[in-house]
Symmetry: C2
Subunit: 328 residues, 2 copies
């Protein structure tokens, strides 16, 4: 089974649900602004994880479909608002929502997408799914939303700060990225009727691949070819972004190397990217980062023992590996 | 029974729930930004309506308390984001959130307050309240959130537009203001275990007083003393804001008066406020506006026949009258 084919299979159904939800939005300008980023694509990894998790515990795609669409909408909402906060002008190869419609309309587009996400979860209707489970799924998704906001606030608070500890960094990426992925697998398992043990295992599987997802992103920024992740090598360094490599290198470096690395991160220029990478290499920070991503994926795959063998379980295993192969 | 005392009685309990929810927010800056507007006060009309509606159909305060807090949080979220969109620097006598913490942190504060609101509803736990009702309450609240976003988008789209029809204006204020008040009374009635008829009646009561609330606001801008609503007389005229009086006067006025009124609304200056008010008087727009607010309140009170006599019913009746007495 090819991962991209697997994702495509699910994304058609998810797209249909999302389309139905967004089509109701009025007035026209808000409608268009709300659809923009969804139309731009995205691999639909998160909703596929909801559906695979539901199936893996013996549930249906149908019963989890609205929640799958909701999780993708929550991801979309957070991208739109993050782009405003970070003043990012491009997203998925297109101008970001606020670049086209202005900040007020982009704030509103995010807000209504967020609202529609919750509406979708409450619309879960399937004779086999009791309301109690719907409330549990909602709790799971809401909890992730709270964490996403906190994660973004931590991320913003790290700007220009070079004494971030690994534990703080891990907490930030957990909240900003991994929490929603963990909520995807957990909500899928809940709606699918998984046992308490299965729900717990799939939630942890989601958290681990979510962490790996972000850490691999940090890693690929330095080692990949431009074409592989769609942005120039070392762009995080140019932006002075906190990454696991930076956190690791700063914790190990000599006073002199620390000073050099900080000054490169502060200069917002690509001329010393190679020099920064040399420092990462010197302290083993690149391998360290890759190792952590790899170990998280291995641990995640082991947790799948909680569910019986099935094509969906195989899909979850493939998606875990996929996290290491690419970026967003 | 005095209305302000009634509101105070409920607001203590609601404040405690809101405080508990917001205290969990991390990091500190986001925590402080999120608490700012709540600390500034507010009359807590919306959460009181949730609690009164629950009691009026025979339910408890306790079972509806989390949802009451949630409705106030949703109102707060919308104020924070609206202030960014409208570039309003003051709110409740204090600098608005974005004025103190900047737009990115204010966007996030709104987002996390919004998330916490939904978390609160999902935390409804009371042996007497089945999950099915919690899902229904959630649907009700979510539906209002979608409408709030649409209402704000319509409001923004009216800027500088002077051919807004009364029907369009009514739809805008329904979505922007009345929908959440209708959701408050409806969700309260659902959680309290009201009959289908009672839920419908209380939802409509909420919609009507919500409409009256906004229309009375339009009216008070022109007739009240500065002290009564805390803003100078005619401030909506200075801002060129679309109000029911403007919509009515423009639909009735001679070509000449129409031109004068539009040019006053466009000039953003207080020097011709009196002249605009004269035009409103000439076409009966002030009385028209007041009449509509009054009629909505009368209709709303009649709907209370759906519930048995009780102190809570009396409270709902008093709150309906209260809408005509003051502004925000």
């Amino acid at each position: 089974m090819d991962v991209l084919e697997l994702l495509k299979k699910y994304s058609t159904e998810v797209d249909r649900e999302i389309g139905k939800a967004l089509d109701t939005v009025d007035p026209e300008e808000l409608h268009d602004a709300s659809k923009h980023l969804i139309k731009a694509g995205g691999k639909k990894i998160r909703p596929s994880l909801v559906l695979l998790s539901s199936e893996a515990v013996g549930g249906s795609v149908e019963g989890a479909l609205k929640t799958a669409a909701a999780v993708e909408l929550i991801h979309t909402f957070s991208l739109i608002h993050d782009d405003i906060m970070d003043q990012d002008e491009m997203r998925r190869g297109l101008p970001s929502v606020h670049t086209i419609w202005g900040e007020p309309m982009a704030i509103l587009a995010g807000d209504i997408i967020f609202s529609l996400a919750f509406e979708l979860v409450t619309q879960t209707h399937n004779e086999d799914i009791p309301s109690k489970r719907v409330v549990e799924a909602l709790k799971t998704v809401v909890d992730a939303c709270i964490k996403i906001c906190e994660g973004q606030a931590f991320d913003m608070s790290f700007e220009g700060k070079f004494d971030v500890q690994e534990k703080e960094y891990m907490n930030m990426i957990y909240k900003k990225t991994a929490a929603l992925i963990a909520a995807a697998t957990k909500a899928g398992a809940i709606l699918g009727g998984g046992s308490e043990e299965q729900v717990k295992a799939l939630a942890e599987y989601g958290r681990l691949i979510g962490m790996a997802f972000q850490i691999q992103d940090d890693y690929l920024d330095v080692v990949s070819e431009e074409t592989a992740i769609g942005k120039p090598v070392g762009s995080d360094i140019v932006k002075g972004k906190m990454t696991l490599m930076v956190v690791h290198a700063l914790s190990k470096a000599s006073a002199e190397d620390e000073e050099v690395l900080i000054s490169i991160l502060n200069e917002n220029d690509e001329k010393n990217v190679e020099k920064a990478i040399k420092i990462f290499e010197k302290y083993g920070s690149i391998n360290y980062t890759h190792d952590i991503a790899l170990k998280n994926v291995q641990k995640a795959k082991k947790l799948l023992i909680a569910v019986e063998d099935s094509p969906s379980k195989q899909g979850l295993s493939l998606l875990a590996d996929f996290v290491l192969q690419r970026s967003h």
